[in-house]
Each structure stands twice: as C-alpha cells, then as structure tokens.
C-alpha cells in the first residue's frame, strides 16, 4: 500500500440508530412489493413496516423503521424517492412526533394467575379484550418501549401468541406530510 498522508473518509459516521421514515405512496397493486424489493436489493434492513390507506383513497402511507447511520438512512430515503409510485419521503426521527404501536398479546393463564394478568394490564393502560380459562388476550397501544416492557412482564406468565403492528407516527402541530404531496 502506498502510504497516504490523510485517508479519505467513507460516507457515513457509522453511528447507527433507529430511524423512522414516512412515505406517501400511490395506492396501487404492487407498490408494497416495490418498496420491499428495493430495501432488500440495497441491503437496508427494515425493522418494521406499517401500511394503510390515507385520507385520500388513491394514496397509502408507509411507516418504516430502519437501523443505520445518517448516510445509510438518507440513501434509503433517496432510493425510495426514485420509485415512481413514491410521492413523498420524510425522515421524522428527530421531529416532534407522536409514535404509537399496537399489540395483541395472548397470555397463558390459570384461574389463579388471571387476576394478576388483568392487573398488570390495567397498570400499563392495556386492555383485556378476551378472557378465557387458559388464556387472556391483552391489547396494548403505546410507544414501542412501553410495549416491550409489557411483553417482558407477561413473559413470566407465558406468551402463547404475540402480534405487533410496528410503529406508526404523526408529527405534532398543524403540519401535514400528506398535504405536502404535490399534485
């Protein structure tokens, strides 16, 4: 190797953290596949992905959580933007936002443990939506760490089934990403 006085730095700080990306996309068949395929092909790891229709029936909203440094995530956002069906992309990680996730947890129960499960749920503002002899279904809404905590607590009783939607987010105040989509 030829010694060089200063090595050129590579793109990105290497400082990895979780980023929240919101994308407004055309509500058409195959768009989810395009987004997922792009993420796979470009080696971006999606931690969670939530999709639903927006206020307008012709657009959908995707919330992606991606782990990476700032350049990595910016690259993901830029590549997303190149998809023709992607109308708007925003990294909202550092914005003032409300972030919520929804979970259903089926907890193993006995006659004896049932009251305790119910009280754990109540203490964490979760709701019991099904009460059986051998299992209790708890519904929880909150930021992902709150749900993590609840899941940990229920592990003691045994979790038979767990489903989480992944985060959905919305910016606080009157700003609207959907209104920013140019038409």
């Amino acid at each position: 190797m030829t010694p060089t006085t200063t090595a050129r730095s590579l793109p990105g700080s290497g400082d990895e953290r979780r980023h929240l990306i919101v994308a407004i996309v055309n509500n058409k068949p195959g768009v989810l596949n395009r987004v997922a395929s792009l993420m796979r092909a470009r080696n971006f790891n999606i931690e969670s992905l939530a999709v639903s229709v927006t206020e307008r029936s012709d657009t959908s909203r995707m919330t992606l959580t991606i782990v990476g440094d700032e350049v990595h995530v910016e690259q993901a956002a830029k590549q997303l933007y190149k998809l023709i069906d992607v109308l708007k992309v925003q990294d909202v990680t550092d914005d003032s936002i409300v972030e919520h996730e929804f979970a259903l947890i089926k907890v193993r129960a006995t006659k004896r443990s049932r009251p305790e499960i119910v009280s754990v749920a109540e203490m964490h503002r979760a709701k019991v939506v099904d009460l059986g002899d051998e299992a209790v279904i708890v519904e929880a809404v909150g930021d992902p760490t709150e749900i993590d905590t609840l899941v940990e607590l229920f592990r003691e009783f045994g979790i038979k089934e767990l489903v989480r939607t992944g985060s959905v987010v919305m910016s606080r105040g009157s700003g609207s990403i959907e209104e920013q989509v140019k038409r």
């Binding site: 190797m1 030829t2 060089t4 006085t5 200063t6 090595a7 050129r8 730095s9 590579l10 793109p11 996309v25 055309n26 195959g30 596949n33 395009r34 395929s37 792009l38 092909a41 350049v71 910016e74 690259q75 830029k78 590549q79 933007y81 190149k82 998809l83 023709i84 069906d85 992607v86 109308l87 708007k88 989509v181 140019k182 038409r183």
Partner: protein, 632 residues
Amino acid sequence: MTQAGHVPGAGSAAASASERARRDMLRDARVTARGGARPRIGADALCEAILLQGSDTIWGYPGGVILPLYDVLVDHPELRHILVRHEQAASHAADGYARASGKVGVCLGTSGPGATNLVTGIGTAMLDSVPVVFITGNVPNALIGKDAFQEIDITGITLPMTKHNYLVRTADEIPYAIAEAFHLARSGRPGPVHVDITKDALMGETAATHPSAAEIEAGLPGYKPKLDGHPRQIKLLAEAIAGAQRPVILAGHGVLIAGAERELLELARAAQIPITWTLLGIGVIDETDPLAYGYMGMHGWKHVNRAIQSADLLIGIGMRFDDRVTGNVRTYAPKAKIAHIDIDPAEIGKNVVADLPIVGDAKHVLDALLPLVTKVDPATRADYFAELATWRTESEGSSWHGSGGFRDGVLSADFVVDRIAAGSNFDANLTADVGQNQMWVARYGGFRRANSHLSSGGLGTMGFALPAAMGAAIATPDKVSWAIAGDGGFQMTLQELATIVQERIPVKIALMDNKKLGMIRQWQEIVYAGNYHSEQLAGPDYLKLCEAYGLPAWKVSKPEEVDAAVTAALAADGPALIWFEIAERQNVYPMMPAGKGLSDLIDKWGDDGEDVTEGATGPRVDPMDPTSGGAK
C-alpha cells in the same frame, strides 16, 4: 445517407428499395387474406404509440402470446421490426440503438422464456442509464398466476432492474402505459422501462386515444427530475474553481446524456482544467483536444490516475464514483475537494463524500456555472500543464503501451484497435464487448465524436458488441459501426450473424481472437499466481463460419496485413468480419487490483512478453485483501 423514399431503419438506399417492395408485397398479401378492414385492437394502439414517440424500429422475436402484435405489424409499415436470433440480442440491439442515437430503443419479446431472455439486456441498460422500452407479451388474463404454458412472473423479475414496469391487462390502458413508459425511459436519469401486456389486452378492441405529454407529466406526481442545480451551490463551485491550483474534471455518461459536451469544453477552456473521463464518458471531448487528458480508473491511463491523485479539486459531472473509478476510496485523491454534479440525488454521497454536491442535469448546471467562472490565463497554469504533459509522455511511452504495434511480429490488440479507428477516420461507432477488448477499445479507440463509443460499463455484459453494433448501425446509417469483440464475447451472441445478413445490417466485426478468455487469463496470471483454469477457449474456423452465414471475411495474423483488411471490410457492401489472430498473452496495463488504490497500479508483470511462460512467479495478490502483497 438519409434520403427521400428511405424506409426507416433500412440502412442503405439499395436496402431501402427492396425493403419497401418486400413490405408492400407482404401487406397486400395480408390484407387479402384477412378480407379487408378490421377493428382497431390493443396491438394497433401499441404500434401507434411507439411511432408517436418517435421510434421507428422494434427489435424482437415472436412467440405465442405476442402474435396478435405480429398480426397487425403489416398495417403499420412505418415501424420496422427486425427479427433477431435470440431475445438477448434484441435487448442489446435496442440498447445500442438508444446509445448511438439518443432516441428510445424498443425491444419486444414473448412471455416466459422470451421475456427471461431479455433480462440480461434490461440489466445492462439499467446499470448504464440507457433509455429502452422493453415490451413483452403475457398469457391471457384468466391464466395469470396459473403456471400456464410460457407463463413466468416477469414483472416480478424485472422490478428491481427497471426504472419502472407495468402489467397491462386491457387494451384501453395501452396508449397511456406506452406513452408513460417512453417518458420515464428518456427523462431525468434515463433507464429501461418494461411493459408487460397480456394477450387479452393486445387483442381487445379499443378506442382509447393517446395522451399528450402534459397529461403524462400531470399523471406522475411522484416523478419530478430536478434539472437545475441549486444557485448557491453553483456559486460555491465557481469559487472553488477560482481557488483551485490543480483542478481535474471527471466527466461521465451524464454529460453525453445531457448533450453538454460544448458546455463542458467551455468550462475547461475558461478555467483551464484538464478533462478526464470514465468508461461511459468516452466521447465527451475530442481526444485530440489539448484539454483532453484521458481515460481514468482501474485500467485507465497512469498519467490520468496520477493527475486525479494529485488534484486539489475534482469536479465529477454526470458520473458516480464507482469502484472501477476510485479503487479503494480511503486512498482516493487524498488532497482533493470533491464537487459532484449528478441528476440522481441518490448518487451524491453514495460512494464518496461530496464536499460540494449539486443535484441537476449536467447541461443545466454547466449553463448556470459558466457565467460565474473566473477566466484563467493559461500562463498561470503553465507549471501544472507542463507536469501533466510530462506524466503523459512517461505513461504513453512505457513498456506496456503497445504503440510499436507488435513484438516479434505478433499482432497486438491495441495496434489493431488503433488501425480500425484510424481506417474509419475516427468517426465510426466502436462497440466493445467485455474483457480485455473492452479496455483496448476504451484506451486506443481515439474517439472524437460523442456517442461513438458503446460499451457495457456497469453490468459488464459479454456478448454485447455484435448486437449493440446492429442497433448502432440502424440508428446512425450515415456512420460506420464496428463491433470489436473478443473470441469469448463473440461466441456468446454470434448467432446474430444470420440477422445482419438477412436484414442487411452493415456491421463491421473485428474479432480479437487470442483463443483465450484474456481478462480471466490476466487475472489468473497476476492475482491467482498463474493458476490457470478455464481460460483456454477453442473456437471454430471463423472464415468457414462466415462463409456458412454468407458473410465476407478476412483473416489477419500479421501487423502489416491489418490496414488492407480494414479497408476491404469497409469497402464491402453490408456486413463483414475480420478475424484478427492477436497475441495470446498480451495483458492490459496498467491494472489496479481490486481493493487497491489509484496509486497502486501494476504496469508490468513477469517479463511482460506475449510469450511469458505460464505459472509466472510473483507474490500472490488476494483481490479481496488490500493488505496482501505483490501489487507494488
């Protein structure tokens, strides 16, 4: 050679006349067989849409579900369909047509294997940002997803390698889909667009009209290519240029796509900056211009890479700092600030950190930059240019440059490329294949004209040269089109000899036969300690092969025979081939082993002779390990 009565895409005037007669006869026969008028169907709308977009040539191959289109082609005589021998060749021909002309290429295949055979060509066009619309037929709507005969999920396959793709199920959708596909293919950063059309859609009756360009743009709210660079960034670039002592321009394909060659030259002249180019940037400037410094990168000129390594400002325009350009990024141009102009925001900051990013079209940005550039008196750069000139003399005169033409009477490849280019007055389209021949063409083609160099740079597709040259020959009938291929790449698509003979496409083929996979052999010699494997390549007697196909051919194995053969091939009416038996062990130098930097070029190995014995000794260089020894 364009003249009145010329049939689009027919080539020469003589070909045009017989092509017209052939088409008239075919049309009369078809109309009679069909018994007169018929309703307008999806396939008609498809032909109309292609013609409305200004394309007159389709490269294709028929098959079951695409037959409804072939049934109506005769009713659209302005559209020339060229029947290839393999769909992959159609994909490269449409690509070559687009590269040489700047127009959108059109390629057609049937469902299933017809469509999968296009995949290599789609990837080639994608990596090199070439505007091609790929059209495939698919099985009837009711059979989609049923694993029907010749059914494959082709839109699923092409999704990650197209700019966009469509599955069209009704005839009414066809005009809009085709118009949008053309718009996407050629605007912004160009690229391939794939339209998959079911048999129902091709056969269905339709009255759908063709949308206007404004309607198409209005229908694409998520697609707004940014053409103009940010004024503040452009101003900063002008200041950076004014402050630079050793600036270097790195010009890429984006300059050619934008048609910004003149603006590039104006910038270079105003601020006295040498222009270097990437593989796909070849042709951005006449190579004989005093400001044209040369081809950069892994097999680029040593003086060019030296200039880049010593620069204090790099101005990348329409290029993407790919690994073949930078080598090890850590050691790339250690003293330089990097300004990066590209129309694709995702390219900026992807491979290198840009100190001065500008998102925009090369022509738009340069137009805005030029009035802000401080004129530099050439005298103030005298020392810089004198040093560059010294480096250039050293580099061009060193042992690996084959300017002597041959050693011991053996034919060297670079000499052949030089004679072909000179024999065609440095005005021909030179289409390269992939491997050593590609680098020889890039280094010794002596290009003077934009879009006259065609090469599969990004994907590196062997077999590209002959079919892409067919496309170039049809796209620019007033230019000579050479396919310069190694014996490896040529044997991948040589079935197209039948196409150029049948369709009278005047491609001149230079077969660079070293009876080897030369670049494989070179790597095995240098990087894998002479552990040769699968690099010996037998081929047929190419004179007999050409005779069988009905193609004039010459065999050349001595340097003194080269010029006469080139003249004879050029004089031949229509396609011709020259079989050059070149040195079997000539390497391409310099060479930057993978993982190394631009300062780590190898320019000699072993005794560096054509007859270097196999198993040449030397320290082993692991291509994946930058710390392994031997390169320097």
